[in-house]
């Protein structure tokens, strides 16, 4: 609920009365059938403004995308980790990597299934909850979604089936090819969905005609100013997620002495790969991403950085507690002039603060600041951890450092959290616009959907996701504890 802090304070009263009415009338509707339904609908429109449906649809979208987005970074990251593992095994003809491949592919299959299941909702939710938006941007926004299906979904799902079930049915070449296709497919999928969300942030290649956005240049829309950097930033985040997943699980196996010879091989790969991708995430991807926001969306930049007054030689807040109202940073630790350099490559550059923007054009300040800064902190932690890990690996002391291994186990969820935080900073930072500077979120919801229906679906999805999320964790832990089917297991069978 924090995500919508600014709006939710305005509407808390409305929401309370609405949810009571909505639920009550929903029960009536189920009990009494169509006639009541029509009456209720008429009453409802009189009593509640469209704003309430917008707020509810935002809550639903935050819930469904927030839950869905836990899984794709793991899938993409693990798929590429498996590409590395399977390729080494293929090249060296080493059975150990086949065992590793089989083991991690179970986690991939589990994650992928939940990702697909929750992803279906996303494909249709623009139409169900955001009909106003869909009608306005359909000419542009639908194409990347369709392209994602054609170029990515078929590829990853088809070849995942082949990879998981085809190990003994196809040649080694085709089997290796299939995991490459899964990884490439999931990355292409990331590309097209990032094209779509980037267009909402930095729209390009369109004109407004007859009250709708109309495509004028496909490539300009696809490669709008934020697509490329957002794609690199996000996919690299997924690679970090995959590396930490493999590192954490391997650490666990080493600590428990379960097939630790096998787990040491995957640990080595994960730590070194993790260091490379964590460094790349800071520079150039994170840095360039910040520059892009500063140039294209100065209001969002001011909000995520907590820069409340326009300054030349602006400092960067490393730590602070934002309070409202009036917007203010308390207990702040700053690095002088760093923000100006970060944004424009010049320590004396002028950076716009939030005082430059109208209140109704600003995103929520607290949530954007906090999520962005915690993401950065986590990003630094990834570099630190993998750097220390690599050092101990180099000194051949990693396997004895129980403390460090234990930290790696606990760090498994950190990249996933960082991904969520980054996404919150990006998407909440876009508010109050659904398409930046073109369409406001409040004008985008479905006019024909009553608030009671949206409340029903929020409850439905909340319950389902709670259930499925818990089972995912339960089975995930079970699979990890079971460990790979290595030589030990084979000997036990004998």
């Amino acid at each position: 609920m924090r995500i919508h802090s600014s709006i939710s304070t305005i509407n808390k009263k409305n929401l309370k009365c609405l949810s009571q009415n909505g639920l009550f009338l929903l029960v009536l509707k189920i009990l009494c059938g169509i006639k009541i339904d029509i009456k209720y609908k008429d009453n409802f429109i009189e009593r509640n403004s469209i704003m309430d449906v917008v707020l509810l649809s935002r809550i639903q979208f935050a819930l469904t995308i927030g839950f869905h987005f836990l899984f794709p970074p793991i899938s993409i990251g693990l798929a590429w980790m498996l590409v590395i593992i399977e390729s080494i095994g293929y090249k060296n003809k080493d059975e150990v990597y086949v065992i590793l491949g089989k083991f991690f592919s179970k986690i991939l299959a589990l994650t992928f299934a939940v990702g697909v299941a929750t992803g279906i909702v996303m494909e249709f939710q623009f139409g169900t909850n955001w009909a106003g938006y869909s009608k306005f941007v359909g000419d542009i926004f639908g194409a990347p979604l369709a392209a994602e299906g054609v170029f990515a979904f078929f590829l990853e799902s088809g070849f995942l089936g082949l990879y998981l079930f085809g190990r003994n049915k196809v040649s080694k070449n085709v089997h290796l090819f299939s995991i490459y296709m899964v990884a490439i497919g999931s990355t292409i999928s990331a590309f097209w969905i990032i094209v779509a969300v980037s267009w909402m942030q930095t729209p390009a290649g369109y004109i407004i005609a007859n009250g709708k956005a109309q495509l004028t240049n496909f490539w300009a829309a696809v490669f709008n100013p934020s697509t490329v950097i957002r794609f690199l930033h996000t996919v690299d985040a997924a690679l970090i997620t995959g590396a930490f997943m493999v590192a954490g699980i391997s650490s666990y196996l080493i600590l428990k002495g379960k097939e630790s010879d096998i787990a040491k091989k995957s640990m080595k790969i994960a730590v070194i790969f993790g260091l490379i991708v964590s460094l790349l995430e800071l520079f150039p991807f994170g840095h360039e991403s910040g520059r892009e926001v500063a140039q294209e969306q100065p209001a969002k930049f001011a909000a995520i950085q907590g820069l409340y007054s326009t300054q030349t030689g602006a400092p960067m807040a490393v730590f602070a507690v934002p309070v409202m109202p009036p917007p203010e940073l308390k207990a702040k630790v700053e690095v002088p002039r760093l923000l100006s350099w970060l944004a424009f490559g010049d320590f004396n550059a002028k950076v716009l603060g939030i005082d430059q923007f109208k209140k109704e054009d600003l995103p929520p300040l607290f949530i954007t600041f906090v999520s962005y800064h915690n993401m950065v902190v986590l990003g630094m932690l990834f570099i630190l951890l993998t750097l220390v890990g690599t050092y101990y690996l180099w000194k051949k002391k990693l396997w004895d450092n129980k403390f460090l291994l234990r930290i790696f186990v606990w760090a498994i969820p950190f990249p996933v959290i960082a991904c969520e935080l980054g996404w919150i900073a990006a998407e909440v930072g876009r508010q109050p616009w659904i398409v930046y500077n073109i369409m406001r979120t409040k004008d985008a919801a479905s006019a024909s959907v009553p608030a009671g229906d949206v409340i029903f679906s929020i409850i439905l999805f909340a319950l389902i996701y709670l259930f499925i999320g818990s089972l995912y964790l339960y089975i995930f832990v079970k699979e990890v504890k079971h460990g790979p089917e290595g030589n030990l297991a084979k000997e036990e069978l004998k």
Binding site: I38, L110, L145, G149, F165
Partner: protein, 338 residues
């Protein structure tokens, strides 16, 4: 042929692709509700294990293509069918995870839970597919602004429910035929005795539904009776329907599967021919209908999308055929199975 008509055809092809491919795995899911034995259930699930996910992508791509080509239809129909869609999505979520979850805990009750969710998660989409089709065929309450005025319970009218049962029987038939290709003699014999019954039920519902359509949506028949394409499709459809038991009885199961695929394709084809050029008729006033012209994207978007489809879909079809060939033949349960 202009771009709007091309996209009408392409969306139609995507819906056919979805109904043929996901149709058999939904059907297998529905039939699994009637199976008691655990090993038999696993054979059912594993017969579609490697391919169901790819099949469901046809639905996702169809949704994306509809959004891109006819955004007004996407927005109007999906927000109009709100509660129905939420139930569909909930079923598909449970169905998708049941494959991965079912065998991960060694408990009878746990398995039973996921078997039930898998079965219902297949049953509900099978019915809703027809219910949605039925509602579109009879027309939706759409006003002159293209705004949907109906409610969820309004979707559950007798006609649409019959079309819903029709699609359920169709997918069950298609799924049963698919299973004859994937199972050994013993299980296959059980399926065969069921198959004849499903065929008879389907044919009866089909006759009722066709007859009903004359009264429920007479406008569909205004022009098509002297359309050659309509009659060709109709003859192919009847032919495939009759050939299914012929092939089954002569043990030519693959040909029977081709026949049921053709049956699905031509049924959707007939619906498309009678709707054309409308996409969603309005039952308030036919002039308010959403058509391939008033609900479409710009010509540039349609052209761009056509290029994407022409580049992408041949590749998709090529590797889909390849993957199906790899998993051809009877299901064998092993360590990697669900």
């Amino acid at each position: 042929m202009d771009l709007n008509i091309t996209w009408f055809l392409l969306v139609g092809v995507l819906i056919m692709g979805y109904a043929i491919l996901d149709g058999f795995d939904l059907g297998v899911g529905v039939l699994s509700l009637f199976v008691k034995d655990d090993k038999e259930k696993r054979i059912y699930m594993n017969s579609i294990g490697p391919v169901w996910d790819g099949n469901e992508v046809w639905l996702l791509t169809g949704g994306g293509a509809l959004f891109a080509a006819f955004p007004i239809v996407y927005a109007t129909v999906f927000s109009g069918f709100y509660i129905a869609f939420m139930l569909l999505l909930a079923s598909l979520i449970f169905r998708a995870v049941s494959f991965e979850f079912r065998n991960k805990v060694a408990s009878e009750q746990w398995k039973k839970l996921w078997d039930t969710l898998f079965g219902i998660g297949s049953l509900l989409p099978s019915i809703l597919f027809g219910v949605a089709f039925g509602n579109i065929l009879r027309g939706l309450p759409i006003d002159n602004q293209g705004q949907y005025l109906g409610s969820f319970l309004g979707l559950l009218n007798p006609y649409s429910i019959i079309v819903g049962l029709l699609s359920l029987a169709l997918f069950a038939l298609h799924g049963a035929i698919y299973l004859t290709l994937k199972t050994d003699e013993i299980i296959r014999n059980k399926i065969l005795s069921l198959l004849n019954k499903i065929w008879i039920i389907f044919t009866l519902i089909y006759a009722v539904a066709s007859f009903y359509t004359f009264f429920e949506a007479p406008f569909l028949f205004n022009e098509i009776l002297n359309n050659l394409l309509f009659w060709i499709s109709f003859i192919i459809m009847l032919g495939s329907l009759i050939l299914i038991p012929v092939f089954i009885n002569s043990r030519q199961y693959f040909k029977a599967f081709i026949s049921s695929s053709l049956l699905i394709a031509t049924m959707i084809g007939l619906a498309a021919i009678s709707l054309f050029p409308r996409l969603v008729p309005s039952n308030l006033n036919l002039d308010y209908s959403l058509t391939i012209y008033n609900a479409s994207s710009s010509q540039l978007t349609l052209k761009t999308m056509l290029i994407i489809a022409l580049i992408g879909m041949p590749i998709v079809i090529a590797y889909t055929i390849f993957i199906y060939r790899v998993f051809k033949g009877k299901v064998e349960l092993n360590k990697e199975s669900y």
